[in-house]
C-alpha cells in the first residue's frame, strides 16, 4: 500500500538525518507512482503533485512523528477537494420537466445508468420520469431500454431505429411537457469523442432538446485516455455532471480524478453493480482513499 511505501521512504529519510523539504520530493514520488498505478492521467498527476507541493505541506509533515500518515491524510484530503469536496446534489430545481441527457463512450454503462437514475428519481426524489432512447445504431438498444422500463414500471417514450435521434428526443420532450412527467431522461448511442459526425449529432441533439443536465457516463476502469475523452465531450457539450460506473470492480478509479480535473464537472453518482438498485450518490472522499491504494 502507499502507506507502507511512504513509511519506507520516511524511515530511510530519518536515517539520513533530519527530514528536509527536498526529501519530501522522494515521498511525493511515491504518491506519483500510486496515482499512475491507479490510472490517473500522467499530465493530471503532474499537475496534482505540483499543487500538493505548492501547498507548503513540508512544514507540518516535517514536524510530525508519523510523517507518512500525515502526508497520506493530507494528500487524500487534497484529492477529495479536487474531486469536488462533499457529495453534490443533482440540481432538480428547474421548471419541470427537468431534462437530462446521458453521453459517453461505447459500453460505458449509459443505458443501464439511465434506468438507474430514473429509478432514483422515482423512488428517492418522488419524481415521474419518462425515459427515451435515441440510440438508432446499436442492435436492440431501444429494446434494452424498454425492458428496463418494464422492470421499473417507468414509461419509455416511443422511438424507432429509422428515425433521426433529434426527432425522437423532441417528441419525448413534448410528450413529457403535455403528459405530466416532471423529468425526461435521454439515452444516446455510445461514440468516440474524436468522431466528428457523431459529436455533431450530439451537439444538434443538445441544441434541440435543451437538457438541463448533460451527463458524461464513464467507466471507472478507464485508463489514461479518460482525460482526453472527458475533454472532448466537455468541449463540445459543456458537461454538467458525471456518472462513474462499474465501481463494484477493483479498478482503483483514477479516471475520476482525470475527468474531474479536466472538466470541473462534479461526479454525481456511482454505479455499483448490474442491478438497477446498485446506484448511489457519489462520495469524493471514499474514492480518494481508493485511488491512493
Amino acid at each position: 500500500t502507499l502507506s507502507d511505501r511512504l513509511e519506507g521512504v520516511f524511515k530511510k529519510l530519518r536515517g539520513q538525518g533530519r527530514i528536509t523539504e527536498r526529501n519530501i520530493e522522494e515521498a511525493l514520488r511515491e504518491v506519483r507512482l500510486a496515482l499512475l498505478e491507479a490510472d490517473v492521467n500522467i499530465a493530471v498527476v503532474r499537475e496534482f503533485i505540483e499543487h500538493v507541493k505548492s501547498k507548503a505541506l513540508g512544514q507540518e509533515v516535517l514536524r510530525s512523528l508519523t510523517p507518512e500518515q500525515h502526508l497520506i491524510k493530507f494528500v487524500a484530503a487534497e484529492l477529495a477537494v479536487v474531486m469536488g469536496g462533499q457529495a453534490r446534489e443533482l440540481d432538480l430545481k428547474v421548471r419541470p420537466p427537468v431534462k437530462l441527457m446521458l453521453v459517453g463512450l461505447q459500453g460505458s454503462g449509459k443505458t443501464t445508468s439511465l434506468a438507474k437514475l430514473a429509478r432514483f428519481l422515482k423512488v428517492e426524489r418522488k419524481r415521474r420520469p419518462l425515459m427515451v432512447s435515441t440510440d438508432v445504431r446499436r442492435p436492440a438498444a431501444m429494446e434494452q431500454l424498454r425492458v428496463l422500463g418494464a422492470q421499473l414500471d417507468i414509461p419509455v417514450a416511443e422511438s424507432h431505429e429509422n428515425e433521426d435521434p433529434v426527432d425522437i428526443a423532441e417528441r419525448a420532450v413534448k410528450r413529457a411537457e403535455l403528459g405530466g412527467f416532471d423529468a425526461v431522461l435521454i439515452d444516446t448511442a455510445g461514440r468516440l469523442q474524436i468522431d466528428t459526425e457523431l459529436m455533431d449529432e450530439l451537439a444538434r441533439l443538445k441544441a434541440v432538446a435543451r437538457p438541463h443536465h448533460t451527463i458524461l457516463v464513464a467507466d471507472a476502469m478507464t485508463g489514461q485516455e479518460a482525460a482526453n475523452v472527458a475533454q472532448g465531450f466537455h468541449a463540445r457539450l459543456q458537461l454538467s455532471g458525471v456518472i462513474l460506473t462499474k465501481l463494484d470492480s477493483d479498478a482503483r478509479g483514477g479516471a475520476a480524478l482525470s475527468i474531474r480535473s479536466v472538466t470541473g464537472a462534479p461526479i454525481l453518482f456511482a454505479g455499483l453493480g448490474e442491478k438497477l438498485e446498485a446506484f448511489e450518490v457519489f462520495h469524493p472522499d471514499r474514492l480518494a482513499s481508493r485511488i491512493l491504494g
Partner: protein, 276 residues
C-alpha cells in the same frame, strides 16, 4: 551520441512517460525502458533508442503468438469472455462473419441469459451475418445453451461454434464460477471444448486489464485476448504486460462498430501506433 548524461536520461524518461500515457503501466514501462537501456549501454542516438524500444515491445508481443487450436474433425469451439461492456457480443458478430467466410456455417450460442435484450442484440447480429443462433429465454442456464450449441454443431457437421457470455467483473466469484461451469459443460459434450477462450478487453481500460486477465485465466483456460475499440484514442498498452506476464497473445483487434471492423493482430502495426 547521448551517453549517460542529462540528455540521455531525459530521453529515457520521455519514452517511459510516453509508454505510461499509452496504458503500458508504470512497472512494465520502467522494465522495458531499462532493458533497452542495459542493452544499448547508454550509448545511442535518440533514433536508435526509439527503434530499440519498438523492437523490444514487438519481441514481447510476438514471442507469445501461436496458431489457433486445431479441433480436428470436431467443431472448433470458441468462447468469448470479459467484463461488462467490453465488446464481446459485437466482436462475436465480427468473428462469426469471418469464420463463416473461412470455414463455412457458424453456430452461435446465446449464453448471456441475464442482461436486458442481450439475446435480442445477438439475434440481430446473427441475422445480419447469416449465422445460426442457439438460444433459450432470458434467465435460463447458460451452460445448457453452450452444451446444446456444441451438440447441434456436431450433429450437423458445422465447423465453428461461438459462445457469447454475459459480461462479468472478475471480482464476482459466483459469476466466475458460472463461467467455469459453462466451459466445463461445453467440454462435457466435446472434450477439449472450448478450444479457444478469448478475453475481450476494452482498449480504453487501464491497469485493471491485467487483473482481469489474471482472474479470468484462473477460472477458464484463456488462450488469447481480443483488443476491442482500438479505433478510440486509447493505445491498449495493457496487452504488453499481459503478454509478458501471462504469455497471452492478442488474437484480433476491433476497430469499429461494423461487422468488418476486425483485424488479426499485427504486433508491428500496434507498436508503431503506440508511439504516434
Amino acid at each position: 551520441v547521448l551517453g549517460g548524461g542529462a540528455q540521455g536520461k531525459q530521453l529515457y524518461e520521455e519514452l517511459e512517460e510516453a509508454l505510461i500515457g499509452a496504458d503500458v503501466g508504470v512497472e512494465a514501462s520502467a522494465r522495458i525502458v531499462q532493458a533497452v537501456r542495459d542493452d544499448l549501454k547508454n550509448e545511442a542516438h535518440p533514433e536508435t533508442v526509439r527503434a530499440a524500444l519498438k523492437a523490444e515491445i514487438e519481441r514481447v508481443l510476438e514471442s507469445v503468438e501461436r496458431p489457433a487450436a486445431d479441433s480436428g474433425d470436431e467443431p472448433l469451439v470458441v468462447m468469448l469472455v470479459g467484463v461488462n461492456g467490453a465488446g464481446k457480443t459485437t466482436t462475436l458478430a465480427k468473428l462469426a462473419a469471418r469464420f463463416k467466410a473461412e470455414r463455412g456455417p457458424v453456430i452461435v450460442a446465446a449464453a448471456d441469459t441475464f442482461r436486458a435484450a442481450a439475446i435480442d442484440q445477438l439475434e440481430v447480429w446473427c441475422n445480419r451475418v447469416g449465422a445460426e443462433i442457439i438460444k433459450q429465454k432470458q434467465g435460463s442456464d447458460p451452460a445448457a445453451i453452450a452444451f446444446d450449441a456444441v451438440a447441434a454443431a456436431r450433429a450437423r457437421g458445422i465447423k465453428t461454434v461461438l459462445i457469447d457470455t454475459a459480461g462479468r467483473l472478475q471480482t464476482k466469484s459466483n459469476l466466475m464460477e458460472e463461467l467455469k461451469k459453462i466451459a466445463r459443460v461445453a467440454g462435457r459434450n466435446l472434450p477439449g471444448a472450448p478450444h479457444e477462450t478469448w478475453l475481450v478487453l476494452d482498449a480504453t481500460t487501464g491497469q485493471n486489464a491485467l487483473s482481469q486477465a489474471q482472474v479470468f485465466k484462473e477460472a477458464v483456460p484463456l488462450t488469447g485476448v481480443i483488443l476491442a475499440k482500438l479505433d478510440s484514442t486509447a493505445k491498449g498498452g495493457v496487452v504488453i504486460a499481459i503478454a509478458d506476464r501471462m504469455k497471452l497473445p492478442v488474437r484480433f483487434v476491433g476497430i469499429g462498430e461494423s461487422v468488418e471492423d476486425l483485424r488479426p493482430f499485427d504486433a508491428h502495426e500496434f507498436v508503431e501506433a503506440l508511439f504516434e
